[in-house]
């Protein structure tokens, strides 16, 4: 039996497209679009349930009356009113005070900023949280085509997977295989790539013991899934980190 979460997960994979613009949403909700435009907006709208929710909630039509807790008091309104308006320019001695206080504040900011920068530098030096490493697909790493060696340091590594010549798919599934055991150790759902046509996988070092791994990119298009490229990676034995 297929569980509800499986139905939902598959349904989400089918969703695609940019959210409708504000103008499209308003025109759609008022029925001002042609049948074709309406169908296009509807298809994209269904892919963004958060926008659907905005259509199903009624816009407030009744205001609060005095005495209602929702009715804003005069005092509270005065505060809001002041913040909605720009400050009124001041003149004379007040302006001098503003200059002095600004100069003092600027000096303090520089001193504190320098101290903060020094402190950050000291804290950051001995410990690398993560580093990134760009991988290239097998067959595109020169004549030897040996697996790339993991050189990135840190508690995690950010493996950047550029989609070289494979960017014609709408979505992609990523998989990490352990070559020695020929087992899949992680797989993603079907994902849309970033505008840079690359994925970056944040992998904790504890996850990658010494050995050889393959990151496999599968192209997903509608009902079709195609293995596109493999990025081999060797993790050297560097002892306990």
């Amino acid at each position: 039996m297929i569980t509800k979460s499986e139905w939902q997960s598959v349904s989400h994979q089918l969703k695609a497209g940019d959210p409708p613009t504000a103008e499209e949403m308003l025109a759609y909700s008022r029925g001002e679009l042609s049948a074709e435009e309406e169908a296009r907006v509807r298809e994209r709208l269904v892919s963004h349930p958060d926008l659907v929710r905005t259509m199903t909630e009624p816009f407030p039509s009744e205001g609060a009356e005095p005495g209602d807790p929702d009715f804003m008091s005069d005092e509270e309104f005065a505060t809001h009113w002041a913040s909605l308006r720009n400050p009124i320019p001041r003149r004379g001695r007040v302006l001098h005070f503003w200059h002095y206080s600004t100069a003092i504040a600027a000096t303090l900011a520089i001193v504190l900023g320098t101290l903060l920068w020094q402190a950050n530098s000291r804290v950051a030096q001995p410990r690398v949280v993560w580093e990134q490493q760009v991988l290239f697909p097998d067959g595109r790493r020169g004549p030897q085509n040996e697996p790339a060696t993991l050189t990135a340091q840190g508690e995690s590594v950010l493996l950047v997977i550029p989609l070289i010549g494979q960017s014609h798919f709408d979505r992609y599934r990523l998989e990490i295989l352990n070559v020695a055991s020929n087992r899949s150790i992680w797989t993603s759902d079907a994902l849309r790539p970033g505008a840079d046509e690359a994925f970056a996988i944040l992998v904790p070092r504890r996850f990658l013991g010494p050995g050889t791994y393959q990151i496999v990119v599968h192209g997903v298009s509608g009902t079709r899934e195609e293995r596109l490229a493999t990025y081999s990676l060797r993790v050297p034995n560097l002892g306990v980190r």
Partner: protein
């Protein structure tokens, strides 16, 4: 500087609307758009400022319809901006259960045949939903996202009867295509 100093009929009218509606608009943003209360307040203030700038052009019912347009516009633009920003870089954290699943080598996971069967089942379901007529598929997808019939009708701009009939047809087609496994959760009882 958009709101001038000094009293006027216009300012009085604005004040009254603000006092009556501000908190209701904030709550609308929180409820309908799922913004935090802080964001809701920020957007409500932005909407009221824009409204103030052009409020003389509208009166009566038109005034409130105009405000609704502004208020929704402001929020849609915020959502769209957030989505576009999110999409520019795609970083996948393998510890994030939302994007994938991993099986640490030290733990026994489902065997290969089991994984293949699950993948094959997902593909069958995917194919079956993808091949539904668009109207049925849209109803089904919203229904799977836990929207009620009346909400689906509003979102798709169709009648509630149409929603029910499309869902019924979609379920029938899925069962015909997938057999018993095509029975949707609510149909079990």
């Amino acid at each position: 500087m958009r709101i001038p100093d000094g009293a006027s009929d216009r300012n009085d009218r604005f004040k009254l609307l603000y006092q009556k509606y501000y908190w209701r608009i904030v709550r609308f943003y929180v409820r309908a758009f799922r913004f935090s209360e802080e964001d809701g307040e920020e957007l409500a203030q932005e909407a009221f400022i824009r409204f103030y700038e052009a409020m003389d052009e509208y009166r009566g019912d038109a005034e409130w319809a105009f405000f609704e347009t502004i208020a929704r516009n402001v929020a849609y633009n915020r959502i769209r901006g957030q989505k576009t920003k999110k999409r520019s870089v795609r970083t996948v954290d393998i510890d994030d259960p939302e994007v994938g699943r991993h099986e640490p080598p030290t733990l026994a996971g489902p065997d290969y045949a089991e994984r293949e069967e699950a993948a094959s089942r997902r593909k069958r379901v995917y194919d079956a939903i993808a091949e539904l007529p668009p109207g049925q598929r849209e109803c089904l997808q919203l229904w799977l996202d836990d929207f009620k019939y009346d909400e689906i009708a509003t979102a798709l701009r169709i009648s509630m009867d149409a929603v029910k009939s499309r869902l019924r047809d979609a379920k029938k087609l899925l069962r015909a295509r997938l057999g018993d496994e095509g029975t949707l959760p609510e149909d079990e009882t």
